[in-house]
Amino acid sequence: MPDRLTSPLSRALRSWEALLIVVAVAVFIANAFASPYFLNAWNLSDATFNFTEKAMIAFAMAMLVIAGEIDLSVASIIALASTAMGVAMTAGFGTPALVAVGIATGVLCGALNGVFVARLGLPSIVVTIGTMSLFRGISYIVLGDQAFTGYPEHFAWFGQGYVWWVFSFELVLFAVLALAFYILLHRTNFGRSVYAIGNNPTAALFSGIRVDRVRFILFLLTGLTSGIAAVCLTSRLGSTRPSIATGMELEVVTMVVLGGVSILGGSGTIAGVVLAAIIMGLVTFGFGLLNVPGIVMSIFLGLLLIAVIAIPRLLRRRGT
């Protein structure tokens, strides 16, 4: 018996990622024709801000969804982490401490979700709808109608700074996290258990995988990446309001699903999420250059989401 049925190359060519690459290239070319401003290094660099923060969370969310769970509280975690940074700033903390506070708040929020889901066995969709209100609610209690402004000057670098030429800090961080999550999901035991849990949690448990621990860690990871995104977003906006990042959870989930991660768990890749992030970024930017209102873009993304999932299913049905 051979180890592998088909070469990895031929498999890759028939995969979801191949479809996404085609879509991405098509969107890129369409944009280049539609607007004379598109093919410009600085403009393209600016366009990346449309997706980098969401994509950071989407990597962790992808793993969570592959494991058969979901976290709808990510945007609210951003609000709470940003509020915590604001409080820390008012207390006179410096930039490194602010970053630490933001990330730590994210991890704590993730841990709370993790306890509810992994320890108490509650359904994650409901728990995170609850914590979604709770986390943002705390921000509202702290801030009310106020805002935190006046973050230290160095702090602006995380959301506005450039590492080299057109490569912003956020873009580089996005790439680094993509690589890290690629390794974690596809190259480690932990990643393997995530797939096993997503495909069959009972069999995974019967195979000696500490299912609850894995789930808990996955919630920590979405919390962590939300905390990181909170640092970037707060730095980019230079201020904190409790309404920060409203509705972002749905964009993150859309990105994950568009990236080919099965919402029922069990399959999906980081490469797919990266491509989906780029497609969503290109679409929003391209429409933006044509001054198309954001809501029209979201119709397009909604249709794209349903179409990319429906078309393979319909074709398969006709095939059999």
């Binding site: 109608d145 805002a147 506005q160």
Partner: protein
């Protein structure tokens, strides 16, 4: 070569901003070599405005005139725009000082603050409780007006400000907040809503509660939207400046600054038929006085804006 001036609004679809766009187009026609890009997010968020600003930067527009959802959050993006040589001014709802070259207030904030209190006080000879129903808690302009209003409160003895609540410029939320005010404060004599969404919702709530005559709704509204409330008596009078003039003036200012007019304290920059804007120490200027509407003149204006 035509100048491309972007009129960035808080959200698309709001009557006030549609009217401002009319004014901008009027200015463009008058100037001849101007193209107006009317744009904005579909909901009133800073993030949405930032995406819009980024795409305007990429298009290399000549000027951005913005009514901001958040004075601080949009500032970094606008700073970047200025670095790339784009003229940036704010109008209606301002941007933090370093995020724009100048700000055009529709009127002087002190005047507006005073007007909204006065409109309420004029119709409550015996004094009593009043409450404020504002837009979002982060709206710069509303917050400044409320601040100014509280400052002049001592000049109106007997007028007792009992609460300030926020309807987020959402019709349903504003309605509920107004309802809450009516229930909580049995002696309420007036609701002041310095926002067009809020004043509409509040007058609806007062009508539904059967309190026409005992609670007067006032504040800032559009004649076209408020005609019904004035007719029913829920609102005796309200004020607003002309949004068409505001859009016109903002466009004129953006055009002139982009053509080299210096925006610095004390400078006077022409704005077409609206005269000239004189900048104060914060590079802010006021356009004109608010104008009061009541039964006597509403018919005349309701078809205009």
């Amino acid at each position: 070569e035509t100048k491309r001036i972007a009129l960035v609004v808080k959200a698309l679809g709001i009557g006030f901003f549609e009217a401002a766009n009319k004014g901008a187009e009027e200015a463009a026609k008058e100037l001849g070599d101007v193209e107006i890009i009317y744009t904005g997010p579909t909901d009133t968020t800073a993030e949405g405005q930032i995406e819009v600003i980024n795409s305007l930067i990429a298009q290399g527009v000549d000027a951005i005139a913005i009514s901001a959802n958040d004075p601080d959050a949009v500032a970094p993006a606008l700073k970047k725009a200025m670095e790339r040589g784009i003229t940036v001014i704010s109008w209606d709802s301002g941007v933090a000082k370093d995020g724009r070259q100048m700000h055009l207030n529709p009127s002087s904030s002190a005047l507006i603050g005073n007007t909204i209190i006065k409109l309420a006080a004029d119709h409550m000879p015996d004094g009593g409780d009043v409450a404020i129903l504002s837009a979002t808690s982060t709206s710069t302009n509303q917050n400044i007006w409320i601040e100014e209003a509280t400052k002049v409160l001592p000049n109106y003895p007997g007028v007792n400000l009992v609460a300030t609540v926020y309807g987020d410029d959402l019709a349903d939320k504003s309605y509920r907040e107004a309802q809450g005010l009516i229930q909580t404060y049995p002696n309420l004599k007036a609701i002041i809503a310095p926002t067009t969404v809020g004043i509409l919702a509040a007058s609806q709530a007062v009508t539904d509660a059967g309190k026409i005559g005992s609670i007067n709704v006032t504040g800032l509204g559009l004649p076209s939207e408020m005609a019904g409330a004035v007719e029913s008596g829920a609102t005796v009078s309200f004020a607003i400046w002309n949004p068409i003039d505001l859009g016109y003036a903002a466009t004129m200012l953006a055009y002139n600054i982009s053509n080299g007019a210096k925006a610095e304290p004390g400078a006077s920059i022409p704005m077409g038929r609206m005269g000239a804007a004189t900048l104060d120490d914060n590079n802010e200027a006021a356009m004109s006085d608010p104008f009061t509407y009541d039964k006597s003149n509403i018919e005349e204006f309701k078809s205009i804006f």
